[in-house]
Every structure is written in C-alpha cells, then in structure tokens.
Amino acid sequence: MSHSDAETASDALVAMRGITIQFPGVKALDGVDLVLRAGEVHALMGENGAGKSTLIKALTGEYAVDAGTITVAGEPRVFHGTADAQSAGISTVYQEVNLCANLSVGENVMLGHELRRGGRIDWRATHRAAAEHLENLGVELDTRTSLSTHSIAVQQLVAISRAMVTDAKVLVLDEPTSSLDRSEVEQLFSVMRDLRARGVAILFVTHFLDQVFEIADRCTVLRNGRLVGEYPLPSLTPGSLVQLMLGRELDDLEALSSVADRHVDRSGAPVVRATGTGRKGVIEPTDIDVYPGEVVGIAGLLGSGRTELARLLAGADHADSGQIEVAGKAARLANPRSAIDHGIAYSSEDRRAEGILGDLTVAENIVLGIQARRGWRKLRKAEQDAVVAEYIAALGVRPASPSTLIRNLSGGNQQKVLLARWLATAPALLILDEPTRGIDVGAKADIQRKVAELSARGLAVVFISSELEEVLRLSQRIVVMRDRRKIGELASHDVDVDAVIDFIAHEGQEGAA
C-alpha cells in the first residue's frame, strides 16, 4: 500500500485538469480534476449522472474534451481516439466486457499485437504469449478456446490481460465487479493488488462502497458533473463518503421503514389474483395476490423464478396452467398489450434491452406508455408536455430536460424515466423487476420513496429485487421463491433480512421432492 502523504503532482502519472465536456442540452462535466499516481488504486465515486462515465471516456480518448488538459507522465496529450490513449499507456476494461466473443481467448488478449514472423502471424508464439500474460494474472486457460464459452468473470480477466499486453501504465476498470460473485471479486482484487505492486495506476469505478474501502487507496468524488474533492481513503468512513457523493444527509431511507408496517385493507377484491399460474419448464404453478395499496415483494436468488413469475403476470410470457383474475374477473393475459389493457404495467429487469429506446428523447420515452394505451388516437402536444413535466419533476429526473436523448442519461435516471412511462398510464398494478439495480444510493432512495408514496395512494405494486433490505423496507408481504417455485409467504414486519435468508436456505428443502 502506498497511500503516501506526497501530495505533489510530481508522482502523478496522469493529471486531468479542468476537464469540461458539453453534450447537446447537458453539461456532463464542468472543470473536473483527476490525478492518478503510480502504484495506487484510485476510486472514482459519484451518483449516477455525476459524470463518472464521461470522465472515463475523456481519459480513454472516446470523447474529446471541450476544455481542460490531460497530461500523461508530464507530457500534455490530446486524444483523438482510444488508440491514442492506448499508445499513451492508458487501457480500459469496461463494464460490459468489450471483447470479441467470436474470437479465441488468445486472440482477444493479443488482437492488434499478434507476434509475427516473416510477415505472417505466428499463432503458436501468439498463443504462448497470451497464455503468459494470463498466467501473470494467475489465470490458466486454453487460449485457443472461444471467448464466448467463458464466464463474464473470466472474460474480464482476459480484458485485463489484454490491457497488460499494451504495457499499460494506467488501468481503468469501469464497474468491473457488478456482474461478479464474491469469489470472482476476490480473484479480481488479488489481480489488482498484484498490478498495484508492479506500479500500475488503477482507476476503479464502482458503486459498491465496501469494495472501495477494501481495495482503494484514494478516491475522487464527483457530483452533478462537478468535482467534490479528492480524499485519501483512510480519512473517510462509509457514511462520510456517501454524504460527499449525495451532498445531503441520507436519512431518507430510514424514514421509509415505517412503510412496511402500514395496514393494508384486504377486504375488497385483489387487483390481481393468480391461482396455480405456471409455465412448464419455467416456473411451477404459483399462487399470488396483490391488493390495492399493497406492495408485495418477491424475494429469491437469481434464477429462483422471480422474474419468470413477473413475466407471467405481465403477459410477457404465456402461462400454461392456472387462472389469473384481475379485479375479481377472470382475465387472459396473452401478451403485454392485453396486460396493459388490464392496467398491469411491467418494468423489465433488463433496462437497456427491454426498456428504454435510446435514440428517443426523455419526453418521447415517457409518452410511449400512454400512447400505447390510447392506440391511434393522437395525444395533444400540450397534454404531452404537461404529463412529461409532471413526471420529470415528481421523480427528480436529471437533467430535467424533456428533449435530452435518453441514452445520454445515467442508469438511475433512465430507470426514473421508465417508472414515469408506466405511471403515466395510471396502472392498477405496477410490477418492478430490479428497478434499483446498478444505480446509486440517491436515485435508489428517490425510486423507493416514489414507490412507497404511490402505494399509499392505492397503487398495487409487485417489487422484485436482489437486495433483501430493499424488499423488506418497501413491502408489506414477501413471496419467497426458490428453485422455480414459491416456497412461502412472509409478513415483512415479522422478519428481518437474516430470517428471510434463513427461510430461502432451509424452508424450500423439505418441500422438494
């Protein structure tokens, strides 16, 4: 560890000063500084929309900076593309692994740096070199296997090996741990420690606070495109770091805890009641009901059937057994359209693929839901503007500009727009599948608060999340899933996180044939 006290810029490998980047309608970065030192892991922290991704893209040459300077090893540089940044010794491993799945592991490591002999690529030598680079990171792989046959975690290590081939002095890791399990994270961290010991400067971007405290030596905090400051980590606590990121006290989440205790009137007809609803090979017959003003959480591990259940309720998949009643009457949910007609709105867990339309504006994305419900009848412009303005304000979408393209928004704000889309259709039941995944604490709190508020006004909500605390905090009842079936139902004021985990771990086994 070398979180030295030397604050001088002389040991700075990379110094970005006064970086400003302007997008149409958004000032993504405003005079931000970032200094990376050799042999240090530097965390870049901030909420979604704080400008982390933009700053990284400026460093890796993907975006041109509108103002500010970048010096690498004391030399001022202007990057015109990723190749420029790489030749300056800056390599990046992105959140979605940016490799070519159609090629072999070895090729992905060596692509563009293949060893040649007599004008042609010497494949044996190339694969041997790739294997050596992988071994340096403690990974043993058959380099001739296709990359697509390996897990994301392995692909990430392949991407890091690739960065080392170019003899990178600076390694940028953009959310590398978001799709890794605990042991994979451990392996990544041991690789990072090893590289740090070899004098590589690592920029680590993540939204997992505990990981920052585990691995990073120093951190830079951004908020709303501006620099908050640079801090040596031992001087911070998780609480103070969150405070820096949000700029406000985070007791909002605590205030929500009363929601779970709220009484729900179950005397009338449930908004939706499913009896024995299942789909062969996907999910076993399951009962679930949701009453007006109630939040029903679905807890379970990834692959337990929680998303599959949501898709059946939303008409995204067709149930082949059981009945579904909507407001007391039998309904056939053949497709999402008929579910929407019955007042059931479904926000998918895959925001990018099944949610946002990146090339449309925020306003267009919001209005889409209403338009789908209205059919061909055109929505008046004034009406549209009113709806859009209302939801942008209500959900705190940032930037609060209806004409921004949604793909320029951060994940958390995209999620808010999706929420707005479905709320604008005035649904009776809102199904949220992992609405807070991959988004920061602030946006998370905004979304949770909105869900609590809406259910208090009578909306029925099905809330699915991997974070049990969140499920417990928001819902009155929890349906617990395991191995593609419902193993029980818990009243959330009776239990805590440990009890739910215990239930998932043990309850299902007796019932299993």
Binding site: L99, E114, R120, I121, S146
Partner: protein, 340 residues
C-alpha cells in the same frame, strides 16, 4: 496469488476431445455442413445416373465454369465478415469487362488493360467503403448505389456486345493443362490463387484478424484500439478488386463483354458465401467455406444440366438450400447466445 483452473472437468477422452473441438472450432461446423451437402449431392447424382455422372472432365469443368464466381465469393467473404454486404459485384464485373474490352478494341495492350480493370473495381469498392464508413450509409444502400453506377457506366461504354480478340486474354481461358483426364485453365488457377491469398490474409495477418474482430463486435474493436475504419474500407476495396479481376476472367470466359452480363450474379455470390458457412451478421466464416459454397452452386447447375430440365431449377434449389442454411445459422447463433 492463487491459480484458477478454468478448464472443464474431463469425463472421458471422447467427451473431452469433442468438447475441445466445440470450444475451439465451432465456427467450422457450417463449413463441414456445406462439405457434407456437396458430398451427398455427388453421391446422390452418381447413384441416380447409374455411375455415369462423376468424371474428371466434369469436375474440371465445374472449376472452369465458376472461376469468376469463386473470385467474387472471396471478395464478398471479406465484406460479409465485417458485417456488411456488397451488392455491386455483379455490375462491377460487367462494367470492368465492358471497359476493358473497349480499351482492348482501341488497341491498348492487355498488360495495361487488366490492371486498369482491377483498379476500376478497387475504386468503386473504395467509394462504397467511404460511404459506409464515413457517411454512415447502410452497406446495402451504399453498394446498391455502386451497383447502379457500375451498371450505368457499362451502358455508357457501349449498348452492344464487344468482342475480345486479344490473344493473351483469350489464352487465360483456352489453354488447358491436361493431367490425364483432368484439366485446368489459367482462369481456374487464378481463382484458386485468389482463394489461397484470401485465406492467408484472413488467417495470418492483422488486417484479416481485425476483419473478424470488426464483424464480431465493431464497438469492441474500436475500443481495443484496432484500425476499424481502415479495415472496413479495405474490405470493400478487396471486394471491388476481386470484382475487377472477375471482370477479366469472365471476359476471357465468354470471349466478349456485354453490358447485361452478371445481372443477379451478386446474389449468386452471396448465396454461395452463406451456403459456405459465413454468418451474415459477420465475424464468423472462411474463404475455404465460400469456395465449397461455389462448388455446391456449380454442382447443382451441373446436375440440373444432366437431368435435362429447365435451368430455373438451379435457382429454386439454391433458394431452398439458402433457406436451410440460414435456418441452421440462426440455430447456431441462438445456441451460442444461450451459452453466454
């Protein structure tokens, strides 16, 4: 630091070698499928015609009759591997043929004319590449524009057929080297050479590997710092140059140039490439596969000749095969997507 063994557990030798093949060379499977179909066709025809079908002269003629298509297919493979398409090749072949024939008629030596024909093809390819890369035009549209341009230019040269009398151009076709009952022409050798050069370029140069990377994931290739723009441009130049060379070969083959030559040839070429196992989405496929695809195409034509039925059955059979192969490709892609 701990080492991680990622290799899967080996249950038995057979399973492991099969697994090893699947994790290493899965992209060759469509090529083997094409070879299997070719072999099945030959055996089927041999049985149907009571053993009168297969003979050395017949095999030799398949190479001779399809050498222009083989050259086009090699160029097309480069473009399709990047995820693009080149609809211009038939028209470019026709235009360069017309242009070359007119230059020869005007008395220019073939040693000058042939390189000019290649350069014309390369230039049109470059134009399409620039449209695709720098003006963000869909490859389909850009090459459609190139096709109309080349077709039009062919008519500008002449509305009528131009006979070629140049001895060295005709030599390409007329000279037959015999090996027993087998024979090969210069055009056939040329086509096989193009296949060899194409295969080596793709397998053993950084340019070739970048083609695969671009076709696999263009965004990734760019972020890896690979020269994406240059590579895509070059792929279209390669295709254009091949079309120019096909113009030379086709002119030699027919002994004349005609502005309506090669209509629909671009589609035959694409069909051959796809049948040969190259994925239309890019990133997977081989020049050798495209060669097999051309042979499948040639074999179907020959069998239908033998049957004495109408040649329109060639197109119908090709259509059916193409459908089959595209479905097989979908299945392969879907399966590898599920694996991930």
């Amino acid at each position: 630091m701990t080492s991680t063994q990622v290799a899967p557990a080996r249950e038995s030798h057979v399973v492991s070698s099969r697994h090893r093949f699947m994790t290493r060379h899965a992209s060759w499977i469509p090529v083997f499928a094409a070879i299997a179909i070719l072999v099945a066709m030959v055996i089927g025809a041999q049985i149907y015609f009571d053993g009168d079908f297969l003979s050395p002269p017949l095999i030799s003629s398949i190479l001779l009759d399809n050498s222009y298509l083989l050259i086009l297919a090699v160029g097309m493979t480069f473009v399709i591997l990047t995820g693009g398409i080149d609809l211009s090749v038939g028209a470019v072949m026709s235009f360069t043929g017309m242009f070359g024939a007119s230059l020869l008629r005007d008395g220019l030596p073939s040693g000058v004319v042939a390189p000019v024909m290649l350069a014309c093809g390369a230039l049109i390819g470059l134009g399409i590449g620039v449209l695709v890369q720098y003006f963000d035009v869909q490859p389909f549209i850009a090459s459609l524009a190139g096709m109309f341009l080349a077709r039009g230019l062919g008519f500008v040269v002449s509305l009528n057929s131009i006979k070629v009398t140049d001895s060295s151009i005709l030599w390409l076709q007329r000279t037959r080297w015999h090996f027993g009952d087998w024979y090969v022409t210069a055009t056939g050798i040329l086509a096989l050479l193009v296949v060899a050069v194409g295969a080596l370029l793709l397998a053993y140069t950084r340019f070739g590997r970048t083609i695969y990377a671009v076709g696999g994931n263009e965004q990734s290739a760019r972020l890896m710092g690979l020269p994406v723009a240059r590579t895509k441009l070059l792929a279209y130049v390669v295709s254009g140059t091949c079309a120019g060379l096909a113009g030379v070969v086709f002119t030699a083959y027919t002994g004349a140039a005609y502005p309506l030559n090669g209509i629909g040839t671009e589609l035959d070429t694409i069909a051959a490439v796809v049948i040969g196992g190259t994925l239309l989405i890019g990133g997977s496929g081989f020049v050798v596969g495209s060669m097999i695809g051309v042979f499948v195409y040639g074999m179907i034509k020959t069998i239908i000749n033998f049957l004495g039925v109408d040649q329109s059955w060639t197109r119908i059979t090709i259509g059916g095969l193409l459908l089959l192969f595209v479905v097989v490709q979908r299945v392969i892609v879907a399966r590898s997507a599920r694996r991930r």
